[in-house]
Amino acid sequence: MIFNRGAFVHSLLRPFIALAALVVTTAMATWGGAAFAQAGAPWPKVSPITIVINQSPWFGGFSKVVEAYEKETGNKVTLDVNPFAGSGEKQRNSVRAKEGQFDILVMNSAWLAEFYHGGFLTPLNTIDASFRLDPQVMSYDDTGYWDATKKSNNAKTGVVYGVPINGNIQVLYYRSDLYEKAGLKVPQTWDELAANAKALNSPPNVYGMVQRGARSASDISYDWMPYLHSYNGAIFRDEKAGDFTVTINSPEARQALDMYVNLAKNSGPPNPGSYGQAQVIQALLTGKAAHATPVIAAWPQLDDATKSAVVGKVNVAVLPHGPGGRTTPTLGHFIGGIPNNIPKDRQVAALAFLRWFQSYDAQVKYAQTGQPPIRIDVYDAPFMKSPDYRWSRAILASLPNAKMMYTVPEGPQIASVLELRLNQAVLGEKTTADALNTAADEIHDIMQKAGYKTARLPALK
């Protein structure tokens, strides 16, 4: 037998070479998503995932972006689409089960606190240590981060748990054609808006101001928050610092509610207390609203000739503010998070989607559907200068001031109180002072029972 030293060494090393190749390939497939994307190389193949999401006005844009992801990466995504409240309940049931049904939860700001406080989400770094929120992604009041020790959203002390999916906030929609005809200026304050609304009020053809005054899980409370905050009022004295003294019946809050109710009485439709989001958008689309403050997700329909009677006649601006305050829209945005209770391969696959979704190219596609991108740099893209995207400046100017409605898991109970009491004020069943005093009592009761350090202001006269 002739001994071939070269062949011997080769056969000895062959398993190690194969092993090294396997390790490198696996590492590239598992961790290399970002590097691949940055280099323009194909995205890794991952397990199919299911995203649970609600059928909101922005859903059409999101589903188009998901289609683009599937086409680009070859990965499979199933969308489980539900009504708004149904989506929250499905998510809740899924995270409380032994094994979750959904891989990405598209959580609204209204139920975000419940998921963070409940400990249902996975820090994204535990799936992939290299994962970071792209610096170009907007902060949305740090709601993608969670500090489990301090129980607060904080980018500095917390870790990343979610990627923003939709940057929904309120803006002022106004009829630019009517403004031009009447020679009006875009309002900076609520008082100016009230004057403009009165000037354009011509019922039953056009109502000066159409508000979301209905009572539901989140209509009038969400609609009124920008008034409250921009009059320098708040539900609690200092929520972030842990001071849960109830201040909803402060003089500032009363001024904010007086303004809201007066707008409804003087320039609104006959029964403003029954208008939810759908009715407000309908009033805008049919040309019956001279002003309204729905979320930006409603925008694409307004310039769609198949749905709108006012194509090209509506513009948007930042929300007005109260005296001495500043424009403060309420965050009604959505965060995509990954639950603890799903297998690792599905967590990896879910993160691959979120990583792709926050990329510049994906956000350009998203913006082109008429939805607000979550990245700041996309707002500088040349196509965003077109009149079709005339909403983008208002969003960019508003977002730095945008605030969460609440950050405690008792939020839905607080919203329920506000929905009823504010609705009663709009209906005239209670005076504004009475509505706010009652709300303050009830919110104080909720916080006390939940064990918070709380107090309340003296009753308004």
């Binding site: 409240a85 309940e89 809740r92 995270v95 409380r96 419940e114 406080h117 409940g118 400990g119 249902f120 209905a214 009572r215 539901s216 899980a217 006959p270 029964n271 207390g273 029954s274 939810g276 309908q282 049919t286 019956k288 603890n340 209770n341 898991p409 839905p412 109970q413 329920s416 009823l420 609705n423 009663q424 209906l427 069943e429």
Partner: protein, 300 residues
Amino acid sequence: MRAPPARADAIQVDRWRFYTLAPALAVYLLLALLPIVNLVVMSAHDIRWQQGAAQWTLVGLKHYTELPRDPLVRAGLANTTLFALLAVTAEMLIGFALALFVSRIVVGRVLYRTIFLLPILIPGIVIGAIWKLMYNPDFGIINQLFGLVGLAGFDWLGSGRLAFMSVIVVDIWHWTPFVFLLLLAGLESLPEDIHEAAMLDGASAWQELRRVTIPMMLPVIVVTLAFRLIVSFKVFDEVYLLTGGGPGTATEVLSFTIYRRFFTEDRMGYGSAISVVALFVLTLVIVLFMGMTRRRMHTN
């Protein structure tokens, strides 16, 4: 002393029946009672989620003591009672009239029966969508019809009592066919010769109805009424789809309050307490009602 052979056989058969039915009875009791026992246990706890796990804290009767101060429970209970009384009364009257009408005609009976039954075949969610569109103050067909005759329309779901009545109208439209179906079956099973005898005795149509038909129909009427009362106390879908309990608390009903407290606000313990009270109230109403009608029937 031993029982006589025939009686002993009967006892043995009875025992045999009891033992053979026992497993089915046990399964039934388990299925029927377990959720209720679970509900009662939950109602005595506060349930919160931390670190992905449920934390149960025993609070005893605390939730029950909070109920009388809950504005939604108060409004829900009052509205549900009024809703059940008004809707069921109207459904019984209209359903009985339609059943009488169809039972007395010969030509087109099948056609009428089919038409009257249609609403009950439509899923609740579709009914909600249909009526929400019909009630729309801007483009709803009802206001358009008002407009055709020169009348101003209404915001049917937009203001207090009108919204409440509008929801009742939908419930009547939805459930009258059910009443009609049961009462028609009852009417058709009545012996024809008694009607003929009444006619031969010279009874007017009203007298025949009052003294012959209604007394003979009483058991069917009672069962139908009881069934409708139970279902109307649980009304949910029409309110959920049409008004969401508003404006204010004008259309708040107990089922919707439970949904709101239990699911939307995630207060499982408190929501369970409302459910237990609702169950108790409904059982009480049905027991009292059945007791009264049984006594009435015995008297008759």
